[in-house]
Amino acid sequence: MSRKRQKTVQEMEQPVVKLDVDYSTVDTEPAKERPYGREYTQARSKMPEKQLFEFAEYHPQEAERIGYSNYSYWKSVWNNFFQRKLAIVMGVVFIVLFVFTFIAPVISKFDVNNLRIDNDLAFISPNGEYWFGTDNLGRDYWSQVWSATRTSIILSVSVSIGQIFVGVVIGLVWGYVRKLDRFFTELYNFIDNIPTIIYMTLIALMVGKSTFIMGVSLIAFYWLGTARNIRNLVFMYRDREYNLASRCLGTGIRRILVKNIFPYLVSVIILRLALSIPGIIAFETTLSYLGLLDSSTPSLGILLRNARSYFLQFPYLLICPAAIVSLITVTFYLVGNAFSDACDPRNHV
């Protein structure tokens, strides 16, 4: 409380104004003609002092306006995302890299599908002729690395998209339909208890080692994690009040899933998509290393495996593919995390 003595209100010869408003007759319809906001304030600022102490006109829509926020979720997400410089730079570098995998064979002196094996040319360090040197069989490494990069990116991105698609569809159903929960949960526990490498080895032996088969079987195991993640999120949103409201309005399961729940999962889905790419690339290198992947279409994993026996003497055989693999995986990891942070409303204004 202020101790400053303000002059107490002087008794002035003024009529006493009664302030009670008859609320039953108050006009609730907003009058659109009157000026409001800044115009209104400016109009008032020109008033003489006497008028300053007169009652102002009352504008209900002005009252509604002051609390209005023009916050938009996705706009904030993008603004927030674009403030994360490192992720943006890495993302741009990745796109350039991916485009370059198509340009590299054009400017290369050697055709990757037509490399000659010549033991005399083995283990040449990078130079003007062989930009990344040659491998143990004397083949140009540059053209191999870029072709492998393209294969790896396409494989991991398509596997990732495939598993996300399957995982999200099944996860939504798993989470929303109570009767199916038990079944899927048991299935999940069952499959999850055996290391994936066992399945992959069995499939490689029984079905085949081609890139396509491996891609399909990777999808077949990766969707599980996604589905469970989605299921847990659906569980979280399922009984929120807005879904109860939809049920009260007679909305069917499909519309609730698509309109009420799916939009909330978009950020998680993108995050999982981004983070599963490094995972799939890593798994692909492991599979290549174990010899479970067909080596006729070289991927970065195959190159890393081939380099295994020689890289202690010839580190460039490791460094070239390793640098590219690291760049790709770290990029997706950073971009995914940056995006997920940007999606968190707590980081918004």
């Binding site: 303000q6 609320y23 102490f53 509604e64 938009s72 009040e241 409201a245 309109k259």
Partner: protein, 685 residues
Amino acid sequence: MSEARVQPVDFNARAQQVLSQIPLLSARDVEVTFSLRGNKLTAIRRASLDLYEGETLAIVGESGSGKSVFTKCFVGMLDKNGSITHGSIMYDGRDLTQLTEKDWLGIRGKKIAMVTQDPMTSLNPLKTIGKQIQEAVELHQGLRGAAAKAETIRILQDVGIAEPERRYKQYPHEFSGGMRQRVVIAIAVACRPQILICDEPTTALDVTIQAQILDLIRRLQQEQHMTIIYITHDLGVVANVADRVAVMYAGQVIEVGMANEVFFDPWHPYTWALLSALPQLGVKGEKLPAIDGTPPNLFSKIVGDAFAPRNRHALNIDFLEEPPMYEVTATHNVKAWLRDPRAPKVEQPKAISMLEAQGGKPKGTDPNAYHPHLDPNREELVRVDKMQVTFGNGHKKFVAVNDVSFTIYKGETFSLVGESGSGKTTIGRAILRVNPISEGEVFFRGEKISGKISKETDTKVIRSMQMIFQDPMASLNERAKVDYIVSEGLFNYHLYKNEKDRQEKVRKALEEVGLLPEFSSRFPHEFSGGQRQRIGIARALIMEPQFIVADEPISALDVSIRAQVLNLLNELKKKRGLTYLFIAHDLSVVRFISDRIAVIHKGRIVELAEAEELFLHPLHPYTKALLSAAPNPNPYLERTKKLLIYDPSQHDYRVDKPVWNEILPGHFVYGNERELDGYRSEISI
């Protein structure tokens, strides 16, 4: 039944005390800003406040008024992105705004302690209650080992926890919400502070528990001579605890004075509006004097008086210049241009004078009011017959609703009142078929709608019964536009001829709830709580229902917004002939809006009567306890009220089985023969 008595208070004596002291803590022109991703939010806009030794100062305001942030400055606990950018807080010869984290260790807890809002999350779940209190005892009282333990047990007993030795070893999850709040208070008290800040300590609790906690805080204050700052949005609580009151709006203290001055002779239009909008002062069947709009967005710069745009009595200067503090009396200051000598001389609104005269007792009902249940041609709309709802199965089975029967007639507002966990929401949801019922039946216009029903009946039920939800933040789909949200029901049953027809219907529904039609292309998060609640009402209305379950539709809203929504509900009822099942825990609201009231306790309706009858002649001890605990916004009455505490073990139902009995026409009560006899003799007196 046990009783607790509250002492009457002499505000004039308190005022003399205040005037004779120098302030214990004195905040001057405090400005607090938060930076949120490049934007600056000014949460406190040069607020000043004094605190005097031994008093209870209540700070009252809506969410976002800055009351909580302001007091956090007194304990140096602002969030990381916030800082005090101007002003000083003098305490004990030191400026609290200049302290380092190390300096704070000598003040926080030791001198100024705080009780936080949510007792469910305020305790470490992995440490025993005893250890958590003992930590404070050891730190501030210098006791160790057995002595510290003994002191802890003494404090536990002191805050009203039975069997303190056993409770000492228990973990927070073994305590109920009210008990946990007692523990939180015990921790604060164990610090032996000079100043205790209570930040909405009872907001998360039921009314009966709230009344007990308020009593406890008052008793502890007297015993330990603490100075208390009590933060709340509830004017009834303010009336209960406060010697002095500070009203905050948009980050400023706009009026401060002794409790009687602020309640009975307020001078800021915002204080007027807050008090007038109390449903306790409303006349049933008439509109409440609501405040339009919402509190301002603090991201933008505020020119003039922040309340001006919502103020029906604003002067032109209110829009241009911020008013200074004017002195009304030596203890009563107000920040409003209306107190300027140049301003027109005014009289306070009528409602304010009524607050003192009637003390929050309603002005009575409109004698011409129509009561549907008394109409001889009354039409039965919804009938619930012996409803039982159970959750879980096997040994984990939990009966949420037990043997509940009632009838709702067309055109009436039927209220269900109970505390959290009483099953009131479950009943509402069970009628709408969202929760399955395990026993009993529900009828709509004589047709059975519970259990297995045909598809046509299902469609009919959905179209004629709708629901309004408690939390406007959670009940709208954030990722859909208002247009979709409102027309969702139309899509489901294709209730429109063409796209143009649908848009027309949406426009009409929005206008009916007082929203602009262009809002339809926006997303829910662009709106304030009151506006969102109106969107929710529009969504239900578009189905043209006859019956609406309103599940605590205003309890999550700010005080200034509540009246808007109550008015809207009443208006719609008149215009459309709607019937409401109104679910609430706040008795003052229920009294204002309902025709009949059912009181529910632990899944069972214990008393049902016409609204005024229930308030004037409550019979069941639980109803009485509930009524006695309801806060009343009149400091004199609130402080002398008799608090009744309900103890379910007072019923002896072992031999004499209780029944649901119509003791007077229209007045039902649950009890056994012996109790009913008692009730009958009570009535005849």
